[in-house]
């Protein structure tokens, strides 16, 4: 390979490394796809409705005597001033009473969002591994090109954040040839 084309290839490789590093860094911030986000929202509403224990609370009304629990059944909305527990009770009542409407509304809102780079939770770890492997392969390619340029008498600086493992590795290990372990 000529020096000129090695330099051009090095620039291209370094751009690809930067792009892959950015993709890796932004991985945790990528949104969930619509269906997964909707399922998560619906699960939350269902869970709050369950936690309200509507059936148990309704059972207060089948007691022969009117109990305190029965008398206060509809008072839950007024206990929000009693802190987080009161707020959770109100949210539970809302979810129990209007769960389907809330879920439909959430679904519509989520579906209206543009999620171009969405990624399911289950694909995040494989994607992280894929990007890391890609970065490593590109860094090996970068180091090979640098060594080729050095052999041709050219001096090109290495990146400060380049993999030190790769920079210090023997040629044979970077070219995939059988390794001769250091003593």
């Amino acid at each position: 390979m000529s020096t000129k084309s090695a330099v051009a290839k090095l620039d291209k490789t370094r751009s690809a490394i930067l792009a892959a590093q950015e993709a890796l860094a932004s991985l945790p911030d990528r949104p969930l796809p619509h269906d997964e986000a909707i399922a998560r929202a619906h699960d939350l509403v269902d869970s709050q409705a369950r936690d309200f224990q509507g059936a148990y609370r309704a059972s207060a009304f089948v007691q022969p005597r009117i109990t305190e629990a029965a008398r206060n059944f509809l008072n839950v909305a007024t206990v929000t001033s009693q802190g987080p527990q009161g707020a959770a009770l109100t949210a539970g009542l809302l979810a129990w009473l209007h769960g389907d409407a809330i879920k439909a509304k959430l679904k519509a809102e989520i579906e209206a969002m543009e999620l171009a780079d969405a990624l399911p939770l289950t694909q995040r770890e494989p994607e992280r591994q894929r990007l890391q492997a890609q970065i490593e392969a590109l860094e090996i390619e970068e180091e090979r090109l640098l060594r080729e340029l050095e052999a041709a008498g050219e001096q090109v600086e290495r990146r400060a954040d380049a993999s030190i493992e790769i920079i210090l590795a023997p040629d044979a290990e970077l070219s995939g040839e059988p390794m001769e372990k250091a003593a």
Partner: protein, 115 residues
Amino acid sequence: MPEYTIDQNRLYDVLDSAQTASSTMSGIRSEIEALRGEINQLSVGIEASRTGTLGQEANPQSLRVLQGRKEQLRRLQSRQSEGHQALMPRIELGRRAVEYARKKGMAAEVAGYVY
């Protein structure tokens, strides 16, 4: 990432390159410090001659020297800034090479390399 071995020649290339970069940077820093000291002394001398003799003009020769030193300082600071950009990656690689070599059981080989 697979386990790579360390090519000792490459290790010493990186360490020596970092050492050279580090020496260059510290040389520039020393020159800057020395110049700052000289400028400070010249300024004090000029100020003393002004205030000590009721408005006597400062020695033109001293003023010229002071201006020259200030110009020299500006050039050095510019060199320091350029050097920082060009040399810091080498120094950083040297630091990381020392750490990595220690982890790989080569502490003796990198003893004495400090950046």
